[in-house]
Symmetry: none
Subunit: 226 residues, 2 copies
Amino acid sequence: MARIILIEDDIEIRRLVADALAAEGHDVETAATAMTGLELGIRNTPDLVIMDLGLPDLDGNELLRMIRAISSVPVMVITARGADEAVVRTLDAGADDYLIKPFSVAQLLARSRALLRRGGLAEEASRITVGGLVIDISAREATLDGTTLDLSPKEFDLLRSLAERQGEVVSKRELLAEVWREPYGGSDRTVDVHLSWLRKKLGETAAEPRYLKTIHGVGVKLVLPD
Amino acid sequence: MARIILIEDDIEIRRLVADALAAEGHDVETAATAMTGLELGIRNTPDLVIMDLGLPDLDGNELLRMIRAISSVPVMVITARGADEAVVRTLDAGADDYLIKPFSVAQLLARSRALLRRGGLAEEASRITVGGLVIDISAREATLDGTTLDLSPKEFDLLRSLAERQGEVVSKRELLAEVWREPYGGSDRTVDVHLSWLRKKLGETAAEPRYLKTIHGVGVKLVLPD
DNA sequence: ACGGGATATCAAGGTTTTCTCAAGTCATAG
DNA sequence: CTATGACTTGAGAAAACCTTGATATCCCGT
């Protein structure tokens, strides 16, 4: 469920699109002019804006620029103007997609899904996925190919620290700082041992790593298996 | 400057699009089949993938799903199939944009700009590209034409030092200082040996260099192959 | 074409880093 | 109080890596 602002002066199209989006479970607010649309947008931090270019009170590209000046919300433009130069100009003014009237509602919905998927929907990064590995941070639970792993606290923290920087090499000292929170004290062996246990539970060995690759002399990284 | 992978079997379109993207300053890698495209290192975090749906070896939607299983890179689909259901299906399979042939190159460029803009084009500095050689510094990984090279620490540091000054001749003494970090101590032979190993892994010899050219009496430089 | 200096490559030896086991501590639940 | 699970540490073995010296080869000025 997302908040969507629809700015369109043609009442038929407005209703058609608004109803279709509402049927998908979204919360749609409509406006017939640029000015009312802007007012809606400013106080509502929407997940997506769908707007017509041919509005009565303001040029569409002008409105687009005003939106971009204050927000990075995804914007889809729907308009009758189909000339290439118009499309290019509008996309370069900050639009994320451009749909030419008459359009199919199904396609408009699919395109809005694509835009929302990309991050209009503000999501908590409370879950990290790396191949068959899913790490649910708030639930403090990790699953591998569907089966839950029985991890000790330190093992989970270690895996999470690595997952938060997926693909990056992390040194043992950094891991000690992040997981153990001891500037001194900790020894690298501790990390080694926990890593070894983690690998065993992930069904891999140091010699045949799938997820946990060690970079000799540098550290470890969590990667996608081949 | 972004790294873009283009998967398209029609040679004319491939060239047209690749040239246009290259003219925008992007680094374009092309493939004619789904398999070569995948090998091209989609796992190696390109900034954008542009792909045809009608590939000879694999259904486009299938390829899309394979890409989505391992990466969240933005994907633009270009195809002749324009039916609404096809568009919806592909967008829901994970595509970010869908362009129907024949399309205008200007519009394709504008749409890729829009996708790249959203993608953040983030860790630009953490990656260096020289022809088919890609050096990912934070992952401490180097790939040649899509296949990852198994480099030792010193080999990687050496390659990286040279890549950071691509095209410039670097003396052994400078390399000793940068990679070995010992004002004295190191001998030039050490550099020679590591260079030799590096060449072997890059699939070249000192007599037939492709990337690593030695300038007699001066040093070495990393260059684009002919 | 020749000689001296620079570079390439190989094999051997030595060093550092990583991996894993087992022993021991500590806290907690029963 | 005991049993269990979690964690730390040290030590040895294994693996990966680096350096060195020797020899062959190449480059360049004479």
